[in-house]
Amino acid sequence: MSRIATPSDQARARDGDVISVRGLHMSYGDFEAVRGIDFDVRCGEIFACLGPNGAGKTTTVEILEGYRARNQGEVDVLGVDPAAPTRAWRARIGVVLQSSELPAELSVGELLSRYAGYYPSPRPVGETVALVGLEDRRDTRAGRLSGGQKRRLDVALALIGDPELIFLDEPTTGFDPDARHQFWELIADLRRLGKTVFLTTHYMEEAEALADRVAVIVAGRIVAEDETGRLGGRDSAPCEIRFHLSEGLAAAELPDLDGDDILVQDCSVKIRAASAEEALSTLLGWAREHDTSLIGLEVVRPSLEEVYLELVHRP
């Protein structure tokens, strides 16, 4: 006989779930920052929490990290309620805060050795320094590192205890594109180490590059949650085919594409194709017949950004 699940049953992480959240609410005075959210994070995945500023991302992550109390709901992180964090539990998580500095007077190596002492079975300092690419900065004091290097040191400190779960709260805000890509490679390395990563970000490219699954949070509610490639039906939405016509060919000469929308501006053509394969095959045949080429041919799925903006602005 099946019994009705109680809230505490629901929030107890299933096998393979590292984080489990049910009906989470948090208000500051009259302001409801988080208005009842549910999600699970599975072991070994990179889970991104995406949303505009003030959507409740940091409140959520700080509840999971054990910094904040909550008004309502069930939360389970590695089998523990983070509202009552224990020392042993803290040894199993790594935290990179949205903004935190490090003691400027200590070097990279000193800080890592210091933090290593806090944990029962830390990773070797040398290996961790190498993982974040700070080998040549080991003797540099934290105060003299660049912004990107400081962030990598932050990650190294979050990893030094060899945690199972790592929280990254908007880790690349303020980075230049080069530093951001280097940072992404580092996070991808964490996946290879088998770590579970909970990431908050407002950069679509970041979620796209890193996350296995994405939850979009707007005004304290999750408005969509799915695998990154499938969020908001991206995988089945019509593709856009883009190319330029060579000179001398008029748009009117393009073949009929079974009712797909064709938009021509000067020589630039955009086609919203229900089936990219069929449209392409027709187009390529047509190009061969006319002995011309489809210059700069691209097939583009709706980007995460387009899906996201639609979700965020949906009434």
């Binding site: 910094y67 803290r90 003691p103 205890g161």
Partner: protein, 258 residues
């Protein structure tokens, strides 16, 4: 690593940090030495009668006592308040709170370092007083001196943890800490004896004057008996304990804006 070993490690790192911060070293260690040299060179040779102290003593003897008090208060109350507020507001303490390091171990390391600075500066001041101004500590008073420095340093360190509550911004910590301590130094007679009765009554409520009295007693050659100023040490202990109670209840690890 046991918690005791961990506390020793924390103390070691805090010590490194402190000596690598030239501004902190100047405000905490160099200033008291400067005060002694400037004041004792100018006024040290007078004989004066100090309220509550037997006989007459050279002003330099009085100044060694009160400036050791300044060194203790600067190394503990001022130094810790400024340092802790800075770390709190910069998220350094918050980050530390996500690790398994017990808060008590962190606090032990910090207080240990502050006490060490207080002790070192005290020793340098006593050596300077001896070499430059002929002020000596009677050997029989050394245990009392150690007791007084220890009670003073620990009490003022506890006060720092409560005092961090007064500063919500990093930029406020320094003016608050230096403003409060400097005012107390003036009304408690750390730079010159205070004769105004109202001012002395006010100073009596606060802990600095009691540390002065206990320390000057140690250096006063006319002191008889054990030289332990029980009441003054008790007032320091009460301030320390009250601060500790407030701090255990209200001390924040996260920025005030969080």
């Amino acid at each position: 690593m046991s918690d005791a070993q961990l506390a020793v490690e924390e103390f070691r790192y805090e010590r490194k940090r402190f000596w690598r911060d030239p501004l902190a070293v100047f405000a905490t260690v160099s200033l008291p030495l400067l005060y002694l040299i400037v004041l004792a060179t100018n006024f040290g040779n007078h004989d004066e009668r100090v309220a509550g102290q037997p006989g007459e003593m050279k002003t330099s003897v009085y100044l060694v006592g009160t400036i050791v008090a300044i060194a203790i208060v600067s190394a503990t109350l001022a130094n810790l308040t400024v340092g802790l507020v800075r770390e709190r507001e910069r998220g350094i303490l918050k980050r530390l709170r996500s690790t398994p390091l017990p808060p008590s171990v962190y606090i032990a390391g910090r207080v240990g370092n502050a006490v060490l600075i207080a002790v070192l500066t005290t020793i340098v001041l006593i050596v300077l007083g001896r070499v430059l101004y002929g002020v000596s500590v009677p050997s029989a008073r050394i245990p009392v001196l150690i007791l007084t420095v220890a009670v003073g340093a620990i009490a003022f360190a506890c006060m720092a943890f409560a005092f961090t509550l007064a500063a919500r911004k990093e930029s406020a910590a320094e003016p608050l800490a230096f403003g409060a301590t400097l005012t107390l130094f003036f009304i408690s007679g750390n730079f010159f004896t205070v004769n105004n009765n109202t001012m002395r009554a006010i100073a009596n409520v606060f802990p600095v004057k009691h540390l002065n009295q206990a320390l000057v007693t140690v250096f006063n050659p006319h002191t008889t008996g054990s030289g332990v100023k029980g009441w003054d040490l008790a007032v320091l202990a009460i301030w320390g304990l009250a601060s500790l109670l407030i701090a255990t209840r209200f001390f924040r690890w996260t920025p005030a804006s969080d």
